[in-house]
């Protein structure tokens, strides 16, 4: 347990510094929220309609920002070799790394997402749901994204490869989460979409580490 906590705190501090960390994700998100009215025109009705969807696009893209360095650094400098020499299974190591990624990047973004959506004109009553959906979606993005990051280990231009592998897997949470927000803002039942999003995140947390560990073993040998 002490080993797992030591690794988690290392991962959070590394993710904090990696690719700019949470501040860059938040700034990126703020940039998307600022560009959107300029690109689509500033009519409040239109902006309010697309605000929840924009939150999802920005969330998915900023999850990709620092993903390619999740395993790559440890692979290049030998840390991944040394990490395997411990009683902690590699599957758990991968899960902890993704959790660190989630804490350091998805959590600050989940705090920023409702603010930006409201600034674009979404109803304030939507804020709690945007926050929870962003947290849940961030979990799915981190664990699914980790699979792509592990699979592209050792490849040239691994970041691009990660994005190509991961983008199709980002589709279901965007559909479920966007659907839930859309239904909520139109006064329709939204729980089904949210439950599907949570189920997708749960499946990613359960199955992702197995795939990541297999990909890491393959890259190391």
């Amino acid at each position: 347990m002490s080993r797992a906590m030591a690794l988690l705190s290392r991962e959070v501090t590394l993710a904090w510094g990696r690719g700019g960390g949470p501040l860059v994700s938040v700034a990126f998100y703020a940039g998307v929220a600022t560009l959107l009215p300029l690109a689509t025109g500033p009519e409040p009705a239109r902006l309010a309609a697309i605000a929840p969807g924009a939150a999802w696009v920005a969330l998915a893209l900023s999850a990709l920002l620092s993903l390619d360095r999740l395993f790559e650094r440890d692979y290049e400098d030998g840390a991944l070799d040394l990490i395997t020499l411990s009683p902690v299974p590699l599957e758990l190591v991968c899960a902890i790394k993704c959790l660190g990624q989630w804490v350091a990047t998805a959590a600050p973004l989940a705090l920023a997402a409702p603010l930006a959506a409201i600034a674009l004109g979404a109803q304030p009553s939507l804020a709690p749901l945007i926050f929870v959906c962003a947290l849940m979606g961030g979990l799915a993005f981190a664990f699914v994204g980790g699979i792509g990051a592990a699979l592209s280990l050792g490849a040239r231009r691994g970041g691009l490869l990660t994005a190509v592998i991961v983008m199709p897997l980002f589709v279901p949470p965007v559909i479920f989460g966007g659907g839930a927000l859309d239904a909520f803002s139109n006064g329709l039942p939204w729980r089904a979409g949210f439950a599907l999003l949570a189920a997708y995140a749960a499946a990613a947390v359960a199955l992702g580490p197995i795939a990541m560990a297999a990909a890491c073993r393959n890259a190391l040998s």
């Binding site: 002490s2 080993r3 030591a6 690794l7 290392r10 501090t13 590394l14 510094g17 650094r73 440890d74 400098d77 030998g78 840390a79 991944l80 070799d81 040394l82 990490i83 395997t84 020499l85 411990s86 009683p87 190391l220 040998s221």
Partner: protein, 210 residues
């Protein structure tokens, strides 16, 4: 504690090329082996194969009574130029993390840092250390968490003459307490060690004819 290491008929392949085959080594507690061979002969790959990171093409690696997975999880250290230390973190953060990860206590990490004369450097970022200081920082893990088998990849190369002698004493102490050492080296080790030369398959093939 690992009491014996047996390598039998080992063949390793890297990137599709056969590095060597038919390699044998028997090591008892308290003994050291010095791996020698030209650049690219497969010394590092052999160390990584013992650490379970590379699959053997043929042959076996056994650790006496102890199961291989258990031996790799709790009874061996791997130290080389790929030390896993992040340039932006402080020396203490790195030493403390790796010590905890390999099962040592914080006090043991402080003692190991003192033994390698690193105490004054612990607040510095790893990128500010010299090559020799950085190597000493990674070698401090060997003392901080006691594990019986040390796999060392060129441990002496960035160290100055004084530190080579002092690290030689540390290796002698480790052997005296029942440890095992396998070190890939170009210079002679400062401790008595059984030499193990790694020959490429074509060299080995030519040998009988000479």
């Amino acid at each position: 504690m690992i009491a014996t290491l047996n390598i039998d008929g080992l063949a390793l392949r890297r990137g599709g090329r056969l590095l060597f085959s038919g390699l044998n080594l028997r090591l008892q507690a308290g003994e050291a082996a010095a791996l020698v061979g030209r650049n690219g002969a497969g010394k590092t790959t052999l160390l990584r194969a013992i650490a379970g990171l590379v699959e053997a093409e043929a042959g076996t690696i056994e650790f006496g009574e102890i199961d291989a997975g258990e031996a790799r999880a709790s009874h061996m250290h791997l130290a080389g130029h790929q030390d896993g230390q992040k340039p932006a973190r402080t020396a203490w953060e790195e030493l403390a993390f790796w010590t905890r990860w390999t099962g040592g206590s914080e006090q043991a990490a402080r003692d190991a840092a003192a033994a390698l004369d690193l105490t004054r450097l612990l607040d510095l970022e790893v990128r500010r250390l010299s090559a020799g200081q950085r190597r000493r920082l990674s070698l401090a893990r060997l003392l901080a968490s006691p594990r019986s088998l040390w796999l060392l990849d060129e441990p002496l190369s960035p160290l100055d003459a004084g530190w080579r002698v002092r690290f030689g004493e540390m290796m002698s102490q480790h052997l005296a307490s029942g440890g095992l050492i396998i070190a890939a080296v170009h210079d002679p080790l400062p401790i008595p060690a059984q030499p193990l030369e790694i020959l490429a398959p074509e060299d080995a093939f030519q040998e009988p004819g000479e």
